[in-house]
């Protein structure tokens, strides 16, 4: 699932370059296609990112960071209380 979602990212990049409508100005959703397509593209990116957050989130980051921070009371750049 995670790898499949990652593969959607280069696909989104390819879809971003909509050269097939480069010289078209027909209206779609009341806007020129060159505009409505990219507006829908933003929505599509948000949906893909939602899927990534849901199914490919790096849960280990949170736990590792909390554990390591607890192990390092005198963290490199923290200061003693004034």
């Amino acid at each position: 699932m995670r790898r499949g979602l990652y593969l959607l990212l280069p696909l989104l990049y390819l879809l971003h370059n909509d050269f097939w409508w480069w010289n078209d100005s027909f209206l779609f959703l009341g806007l020129p296609i060159g505009l409505s397509y990219h507006l829908l593209f933003c929505l599509a990116v948000s949906v893909v990112m939602w899927l990534m957050v849901r199914h490919a989130w790096p849960h280990d980051l949170q736990e590792d960071a909390m554990r390591a921070a607890a192990r390092e009371p005198g963290r490199a750049h923290d200061e003693e209380p004034s």
Partner: protein
């Protein structure tokens, strides 16, 4: 009326900044990164507000007026794709390492990652060098915008001075928490006012599609990309928003998150915010092509203001002025706080005072730096040429070309300090070369092909990092263990 609305807005900003001070804990970590307690919504708003500048409102409509619908795909939807991906893969990891090791600046992270003080210093110089023009553009844009919207009633220098003073007050007083809270307020203001201005103008024109029909009659070429956006430019422009991965002011905002999960709202919400704000600005610019044909050069930058004046009551013009100021200040505050944090932590604390520097002293020094940086920026604004506006895209090119460094820091164990230094050196050299070319001809692309110079600099930066890293001794195992 306009001056009254701007004044009320400035007072509201100061009130929000002051309110945030009630939660101030008096520690260095609280002043610099809000004790890493920022929640999901404030993180989204502060990241979005910091990334979007006055260009989002004024520049986007001017570009749509000149270039047409292609500007949305070029500038907006490319950011909508690239920036959340960076938040997902880079931002969360930077947050985790910041939490683990207590980092407050990007330089601290890079210095530790490659165990090199010299590399930290080199990156400090380059990052600060790229942020300062960006800062200057914000102050300049603010002065010019207020002057235009008030029809000359407020001189540019007064507009710029007021912006500097207000930002200085709440950043000095509220630190990162004040900045994040004010950013949230300002982002909500400029998003809603962009939408309000668009809805009002579209209503006056008889509807969204009716407005487009008028453009189709006056300037049909603006409704297609052909002739305005070369395909190679579209392909390569996607590297420009990559710069977000190396912006030190976004880096520091990542460190403020309460936990890794806090990023989820930003990852999902960012593309939607981009879509909402940019579609309004771009459509107003397009409609302007029918109402104000023939504007050239800097005149086109005022298209949004002209459209508001033509179609809206003075109240809306005043609110728009507040929106523009909001967009400017929401970037300026983070940049200033970031620079003052870097000067305090990466120079004074690292080289001069070390651990003898108490938290109170750190906060005091950071506040002095905030005031000094804004004061210096204002002085440069007074004496500099307006052509400095062209620097904007070059700052993005520089940051984007340094992005391989943060990728290597997080994902490539074999990368070495010499590789990173080579990457920085190649970036600076090639950037300088292309900058000189672009300064002479603002529409410059590589060999007139439409290819953005950032593509060449980015590729060379990657190559230098890769080759020199492989040719030099691998990093020590004990250093790697701290990061992988």
């Amino acid at each position: 009326m306009i001056i009254a609305i701007i004044s009320i807005y400035m007072l509201s900003v100061l009130a929000v900044g002051t309110l945030s001070h009630r939660l101030f804990r008096g520690t260095g970590e609280d002043y610099f990164v809000a004790t890493r307690t920022i929640g999901p919504f404030v993180l989204l708003m502060s990241l979005f507000g910091t990334h979007m500048t006055s260009f989002t409102l004024l520049g986007a409509s001017a570009q749509a007026y000149t270039v047409g619908v292609g500007v949305f795909g070029l500038l907006a939807s490319s950011s909508a794709l690239v920036v959340p991906v960076i938040f997902f893969f880079v931002g969360t990891r930077i947050w985790a390492l910041g939490k683990r090791h207590g980092y407050l600046t990007p330089v601290q992270f890079f210095r530790d990652r490659w165990d090199s003080s010299g590399l930290g210093l080199a990156l400090f110089v380059v990052l600060v060098g790229f942020v300062i023009p960006y800062l200057l553009i914000g102050v300049m844009g603010g002065g010019i915008a207020i002057n235009q919207i008030s029809q000359g009633a407020v001189p540019e220098w007064i507009g710029a001075l007021v912006i500097c003073l207000v930002v200085m007050t709440y950043v000095v007083y509220g630190g990162m928490r004040g900045t994040a809270w004010v950013n949230t307020f300002q982002t909500l203001v400029f998003m809603s006012l962009a939408a309000l201005a668009f809805v009002w103008i579209a209503y006056k024109l008889g509807g969204v599609t009716e407005g487009i029909q008028r453009v189709a009659e006056a300037r049909p070429d603006l409704l297609v990309r052909e002739g305005h956006v070369p395909p190679l430019k579209m392909l390569s422009y996607v590297l420009i928003p990559v710069s977000a991965g190396m912006f030190p002011h976004l880096f520091i905002h990542w460190l403020t998150a309460r936990k890794a999960e806090t990023f989820r709202t930003s990852v999902i919400g960012y593309p939607l915010c981009v879509g909402v704000v940019w579609i309004c600005s771009v459509l107003i610019g397009l409609y302007g092509a029918a109402d104000f044909p023939g504007l050239q050069g800097p005149e086109a930058n005022s298209i949004l203001v002209r459209m508001i004046r033509l179609h809206s009551p003075e109240l809306l013009a005043g609110l728009l002025a507040a929106g523009v100021v909001a967009a400017i200040m929401s970037s300026l505050d983070s940049q200033v706080l970031c620079l003052s944090t870097m000067f305090t932590q990466d120079i004074v604390r690292h080289y001069a005072l070390g651990d003898q520097m108490s938290e109170k002293r750190q906060i005091f020094l950071a506040r002095v730096f905030v005031a000094a940086i804004l004061g210096l920026t204002f002085v440069i604004f007074l004496v500099s040429n307006r052509s400095i506006f062209n620097l904007g895209i070059w700052c993005f090119t520089g940051f984007a070309s340094l992005f391989p460094i943060v990728l290597a820091a997080l994902f490539w164990k074999r990368s070495t300090r010499s590789g990173v230094l080579a990457s920085v050196a190649v970036t600076v050299l090639l950037w300088s070369y292309f900058f000189l070319q672009g300064w002479r001809d603002p529409s410059y692309t590589v060999a007139d092909s439409g290819l953005m110079p950032v593509t060449v600099v980015f590729a060379a930066s990657c190559l230098a990092l890769w080759l020199v890293s492989l040719a030099t001794r691998p990093p020590r195992e004990e250093v790697l263990q701290r990061f992988f």
